[in-house]
Subunit: 225 residues, 2 copies
């Protein structure tokens, strides 16, 4: 990290979007001050730093705020390049486009199906969410092949942009599996490449140190349901 650099992250421990930013910081080996926000009483700093959405995560780099999780990850990658940790986005423009495509897919299709599953108002809606989640995971199984080209991660030999974007959801899909008492995601029978990816990603030290505690997540989900 360049001398005199100051990085602060405004976050909430129970947010998958904040987790992504933390995963990116962790994989890039960057030191930063983590500031936990009380979302029921947001700080002046958060409201001033993200006046448009008033949401976490916000990265503050030498006093300048950067908002939105995927934008933060790309910003960190562009500012710190390969000087800190691995480059998350591929060098080749076509591979970058593919990484952006799958990251957008995860935030669009996978996220909306997860929301439908966990917050659906009727049983029909929840069942539709399960169906769509399952279809999204099957599509992502193809993405592993396309992006990794036979290597261990979406990013190839090391973790990349798509790994970080998908990695942010791991605790929440594990939570859904635990609450429903089934294995709906990363099922080795249905999506073997994704299941193997989960094993590898989850065992990385840089990932483990920022993952939220599952018991706390269970409590959080009970409070908000």
């Amino acid at each position: 990290m360049a001398g005199g650099d100051e990085l602060r992250l405004l976050g909430f421990w129970g947010s998958p979007f904040v987790l992504r930013a933390r995963l990116a910081l962790s994989f890039k080996g960057l030191s930063y001050e983590y500031v936990e926000e009380d979302l029921t009483n947001k700080s002046e700093l958060l409201l001033r730093s993200n006046p448009v959405h008033n949401k976490v995560p916000v990265l503050i780099h030498n006093g300048k705020p950067i908002c939105e999780t995927q934008i933060i990850v790309q910003y960190l990658d562009e500012v710190y390049g390969a000087s800190n940790g691995p480059s998350l986005l591929p060098v080749d423009p076509y591979d970058r486009a593919m990484a952006r495509f799958w990251a957008a897919y995860i935030d669009d299709k996978l996220l909306s199906s997860l929301m439908m599953m966990s917050r659906g108002k009727t049983e029909e809606e929840k069942a539709e969410g399960r169906k769509q989640s399952s279809a999204s995971m099957e599509t992502l199984e193809r993405a592993v092949k396309e992006c990794s080209k036979g290597k261990p991660f979406f990013g190839g030999d090391g973790v990349g942009y798509v790994d970080v974007v998908l990695g942010g959801f791991i605790p929440w899909v594990n939570l859904i599996d635990r609450l429903t008492g089934s294995r709906q995601f990363f099922d080795a029978g249905k999506t073997p490449l994704l299941a193997a990816w989960l094993e590898r990603f989850g065992s990385l030290h840089a990932a483990k140190v920022v993952m939220p505690d599952m018991e706390r997540l269970v409590e959080l989900s009970e409070m908000s349901s």
Copy 2:
């Protein structure tokens, strides 16, 4: 453009997302083959090139497909850099993050309010769409200031990423204004900077040559309503 390069764009004339890709190609001065798709009978090439979403636009560069409008624009900018036309994304990583932030805002908040206005099922929903559109335009008025820093475009002296992303919606907001007989967008009284931007952007030759015909758009909207 590098020798031997082949660019094809699969599109539909009445799509704002296709228009963006065409604006980017036009501002960068790139030659390409435009292939009009019949959306009621999509070509094998489209289905094969975008198997995940089956949607236009798809850019095919030397046989390799790139999908999703914002990803196509960034790809063109990365591949052709400043060698063809202006760089659309700023060089400075912070300015790039800001450009990505406002582009995401346009696709999230402005687009969803436009959809609510034009496709709302009840009068209440349409009214809510109008309210949200108006709020989005006021927020974007602030974005002009932040991004342009007193210069003519979001991109500064020349058009940039946000100009192209917002520019793609011009014909459709003009259409809504025409159909409702009012001036709801780019109103000089409410958002003077955006109104001045619209004048400047709309008068550029590279924009004019790819804008769809308003009478045809009116017909299209009558057919689909």
